[in-house]
Symmetry: C2
Subunit: 243 residues, 2 copies
DNA sequence: GCGCGGCTTTGTCTCAGGTCAAAAAAGGGA
DNA sequence: TCCCTTTTTTGACCTGAGACAAAGCCGCGC
């Protein structure tokens, strides 16, 4: 089923890959001991739902590995993705017992989970956690607002360029400032999933990729691996909310 | 200049109209005394900027009266509004010293302000405040995500209907569940500001209003006052993320 | 009452991106 | 290896909403 599960089951928080970025980032050793005892891991295969809008949320948790999407479906099938969940991102909302959005694993995903009721108690007692949650919520709010500009005002070409630059930025995290020059990235999403994220159709996404390729703005090695020979040139195509 | 300022200057927190909804909602009496001593009011005329993206943010605060927008401008003048700020909504982000978005007063606005550094200290020491801030940030995140669905996937008609229903809901807050039947609302925005909020042009907004009027879905009394004879019929036009 | 400036409405034309359809690649078992 | 499925690309055509332009409306100051 999931070959990684056995490895992860034995892991304790001190060796956790997201220990210093997730909701527990600022917890001290005592607090981690408590969380360590409360936590449990769950795995989801690529394509599986993690949570349905309207469902009762029994747990909250952090993405340890893999990628998931937050999305919402309209009755007639139109879909909008509201966000990507990457390792260290948090799923669920303390204080709400019904999910508002669908969450779907798009690669194999492992979560570090807590029962919602005990997590809520922990939040109430642990300022380190509630402060970190606030910080993360505000970061997500900023990201959501940036994406609103993309969805509301950018052209298809600008959307694609912005998306690619976002991937570049994320895969550069922690490294030196993103320089001039070339960069390689691997797309975490299919054309359709990208379309749902950017408010386009998959055909338009595909056409824009082809166009950027013909213009030499990107080079494609297979469908998922992309080389950007000139990062600054691509940045110039984003409609530059500069940042 | 601003006729309301003198009245408000003397107000203390206990008689504040947003005392039980704003960031201070769950503070106890002692905490309110501290906030009361720290706070100061500022007024802005309609049209005035409250904050520019990129500026140093010296203060944070709550909207006491009036309406403001959070927005971002692209270099070529395209604008996207990311949110409306109504009484009790919070402006500013503790922990960040540079504003990420423009905030503009669209009616005369009064804010209850705190110097950012002292507010941050207060947040760190006062779980009631950080918990309330978290709650408010998560509510805003939900609202932002709902709006992403509108921006990315809804038609112009659905956008207008959704927007009108949002106004209905806000002006019904606290009253009985929104029933069948008719409802009157006053639009807080010009056609252009609505367009910027919904990712449309002002002409398209105007045309959709005309169409809804001809169909009898809405009746207009002047440009700003609208009667919705059948709220459920309008709801059916939203593309219904039901909620 | 008149004229001015800021909104709003309406008309006409255009085009970016959607829709529908089909072919081409890219896996991934067995 | 070959077959079958899923994903991607490309083409042809269509349409919803944008762009541009011109009136209409309304409130305000003089």
């Amino acid at each position: 089923m999931d070959l990684q599960t056995p490895l992860i089951k034995d892991r304790n928080c001190s060796s956790c890959p997201i220990r210093h970025r997730a909701v527990c980032a600022t917890c001290d050793d005592d607090e981690i001991v408590t969380l360590d005892a409360m936590k449990y891991y769950r795995s989801f295969d690529a394509g599986q739902p993690i949570m349905w809008a309207g469902d009762r949320m029994a747990f909250v948790g952090s993405v340890v590995s893999g990628t998931a999407t937050i999305e919402r479906l309209m009755e007639d099938g139109r879909k909008q993705t509201m966000g990507l969940l990457l390792p260290s991102d948090f799923i669920g909302r303390p204080g709400r017992d019904t999910a508002t959005y669908d969450v779907t694993a798009i690669t194999d995903v492992t979560l570090c989970c807590f029962r919602r009721d005990s997590f809520e108690k922990m939040v109430a007692q642990t300022p380190h956690i509630s402060q970190r949650m606030l910080e993360m919520a505000l970061d997500e709010l900023d990201a959501a607002r940036d994406w609103m500009l993309l969805l509301g005002r950018k052209t298809a070409r600008e959307k694609i360029a912005t998306f690619l630059m976002m991937i570049v930025r994320r895969s550069t995290e922690g490294e030196a400032v993103l320089t001039t020059g070339s960069k390689q990235i691997t797309l975490p999403l299919t054309r359709e999933a990208m379309a749902d994220y950017m408010g386009l159709t998959l055909e338009t996404v595909s056409r824009q990729f082809s166009k950027l390729r013909k213009e030499g703005m990107i080079a494609m090695d297979g469908k998922r691996d992309i080389t950007i020979p000139d990062v600054e040139a691509l940045q110039a195509e984003t409609g530059s909310d500069l940042s």
